[in-house]
């Protein structure tokens, strides 16, 4: 299957490009040696500014792609996506509350745990509201409700902050950005991404079996309650941690599985791996675009994602309607 080698090569290339693009111009050899040694100002730039940014792009994109594929596999609905159904919004709310109350400063786990906690509530809310079948209408309605509520509460918390800059930052939380992130942020997110990712990836056989419906899967030995629990916690951990450091980035979990599905013969288990790779590729590319198009302004990742993702989302809705009628 040519897909994985191609995606891996793309990932490596974009990662390298991400390390070499920035406000500072330097030759490739200088940049790479500075990356290794960390010497001098170029070394600081490479190791403390560019490297964590590139790593975070991989983490954010990978988890968004993976979470999207996993939720779609579980709900049997191609419209399921963490941003769309309000999980990223809830994670933002959890992060903002932790930051503004000072809870985040108490111990390093506080920030990602708050975001994770809110994400868990959101995922449970979605599963409860969308019903057993996870049919499109109830799913999207539940997602709209949770997104709207999270967004409004986030805005409120930010407006109540004594810090005058906080109010304007609603844009960061709702659209996402990787600029000026550091290794501090990588260490916050990494453990949750690894653990959450492992939990979700282990659900491959279960998601495959669920293609035939919950009853059939159960009679083939799939433990439905355990699958749901692993999914909820795994997705919440990944989305919570990455949103806490980079804000909410939408559409990746929608676009990537949709594109890659035909290359993996629609198998949900394989699609999860492919979407993790594809999501990382997409965010790396978007983050590069953001730095190349408007280097002096912090163009949010969400803007690029929306431009790419919104037309595709509309196409998906149109197709779903056509299939239903």
């Amino acid at each position: 299957m040519r897909l994985f080698p191609i995606l891996s090569i793309l990932l490596a290339l974009l990662f390298a490009a991400s390390l070499l693009v920035g406000h500072t111009t330097a030759s490739i050899s200088d940049s790479l040696s500075a990356l290794m040694t960390g010497d001098g100002p170029l070394g600081t730039v490479m190791q403390d500014i560019r490297l964590p940014r590139a790593i975070l792009a991989v983490l954010v994109g990978g988890t968004l792609g993976l979470a999207g594929a996993a939720m779609q596999g579980y709900l049997r609905n191609p419209l399921a996506e963490p941003g769309l159904i309000g999980i990223s919004g809830a994670a933002s709310l959890g992060a903002v509350i932790a930051l503004q109350t000072g809870f985040a400063g108490l111990f390093w786990l506080a920030l990602p745990m708050s975001a994770l906690g809110m994400s868990v509530l959101a995922v449970l809310g979605i599963l409860a509201l969308a019903g057993r079948q996870g049919r499109s209408l109830s799913l999207i309605l539940a997602g709209i409700a949770i997104s709207a509520l999270s967004g409004a509460m986030t805005s409120l918390v930010l407006n109540l902050s004594p810090n005058p800059y906080a109010t304007a930052e609603i844009v960061f939380w709702m659209m996402g950005s990787l600029s000026d992130r550091s290794f501090d942020h990588v260490w916050i997110a990494l453990p949750f991404c690894i653990i959450g990712g492992a939990m979700v990836l282990s659900l491959g056989p279960a998601l495959n079996a669920l293609s035939l419906g919950e009853d059939t899967a159960a009679t083939m030995g799939i433990h439905l309650a355990r699958t749901r629990l692993m999914l909820v916690i795994g997705v919440a951990a990944m989305i919570g941690a990455t949103t806490a450091v980079a804000g909410a980035v939408g559409f990746v979990g929608l676009v990537i599985p949709h594109i890659l599905r035909r290359w993996v013969q629609a198998r949900p288990s394989t699609l999860m791996w492919a979407s993790a790779l594809g999501g990382a590729v997409m965010i790396l590319a978007a983050d590069l675009l953001v730095r190349l198009i408007l280097p002096d302004r912090d163009l949010k990742l969400g803007v690029v994602m929306a431009i790419l993702g919104a037309p595709l989302f509309l196409h998906l809705i149109y197709k779903t309607r056509a299939d239903m009628s």
């Binding site: 293609s211 035939l212 419906g213 059939t216 599905r261 013969q265 629609a266």
Partner: protein
């Protein structure tokens, strides 16, 4: 040999018994038709026996752990759900799930495909096939699960006559190979023709259980189905045709 035994199985929805103290058993080599009007509790009975619904009473299947149970009984639900554009081979291969990671070249998958006449369809996308073909794919999936017991909910629903006959012939052949099969059916004619035994459910209670002739009596037809029918044994097999709608016997009380 008894493959499945159900004793005093009841399922309550609120205060109302959807399945009311049903006892029956399935022997190897038997194709049992589960019949009854809409709402009689056929689907619920099968799902309870499989452990998908909470119940009181006993089902020999729910007394073993889920992993083991998956190797004893396969379930074909009425909703023919295939969520994604998987290939026929992949769908059928899912039946191997209880036995570890699914391998593409698993011989049992291949044999299930062959037995259901799907060998040439193996690489086609399952959801692009016709209704009858998809029904066969899902039966092949259950067959690939390699279980003594197969339960099917309305397997002939929405199928054309040829597909209906083919499906029931496949079940009859599987029974002849030693499987025990329960299938709920609305078509009493097909049930009478192919099944060794019929189990008649009415308001959740097992009203009759035995060979078709002993179950499809005029009294049962009138009281349970509110019909009368023409029942005839010919050298082409049993012929059963509902004729008129009639009121149930006043002595027994209207439902």
């Amino acid at each position: 040999m008894t493959l499945l035994s159900i004793e005093n199985l009841s399922v309550l929805r609120g205060q109302c018994p959807v399945v009311d103290r049903v006892s029956l058993s399935v022997q190897a080599g038997e194709l049992i038709g589960l019949i009854g009007p809409n709402g009689a509790g056929k689907t619920t009975l099968m799902r309870a026996a499989l452990g998908l619904v909470a119940h009181s009473g006993q089902s020999s299947l729910t007394q073993i752990p889920a992993a083991e149970r998956a190797k004893q009984a396969a379930w074909i639900p009425q909703m023919r759900e295939i969520a994604w554009g998987l290939s026929v081979r992949d769908v059928v291969g899912l039946g191997r799930s209880p036995y570890g990671p699914v391998r593409r070249d698993d011989p049992k998958t291949q044999s299930a495909l062959d037995q259901l006449g799907l060998t040439n369809f193996a690489d086609r996308t399952a959801i692009h096939l016709s209704g009858g073909e998809q029904a066969r794919v899902l039966i092949a999936r259950a067959l690939a699960q390699d279980t003594p017991i197969i339960m099917a909910d309305e397997p002939t629903a929405s199928l054309d006559p040829a597909s209906q006959l083919t499906t029931l012939q496949i079940f009859a052949d599987l029974a002849a190979q030693g499987h025990g099969i329960i299938a709920s059916l609305h078509d009493l004619g097909l049930a009478a023709r192919y099944c060794h035994k019929l189990a008649l459910l009415h308001h959740g209670r097992l009203v009759a259980f035995g060979p078709p002739a002993s179950v499809l009596t005029p009294e049962n037809l009138r009281d349970v189905f509110m019909i009368d029918a023409h029942f005839e044994r010919t050298d082409q097999g049993v012929i059963f045709q509902p004729l008129n709608v009639i009121a149930p016997n006043a002595e027994k009380g209207a439902p």
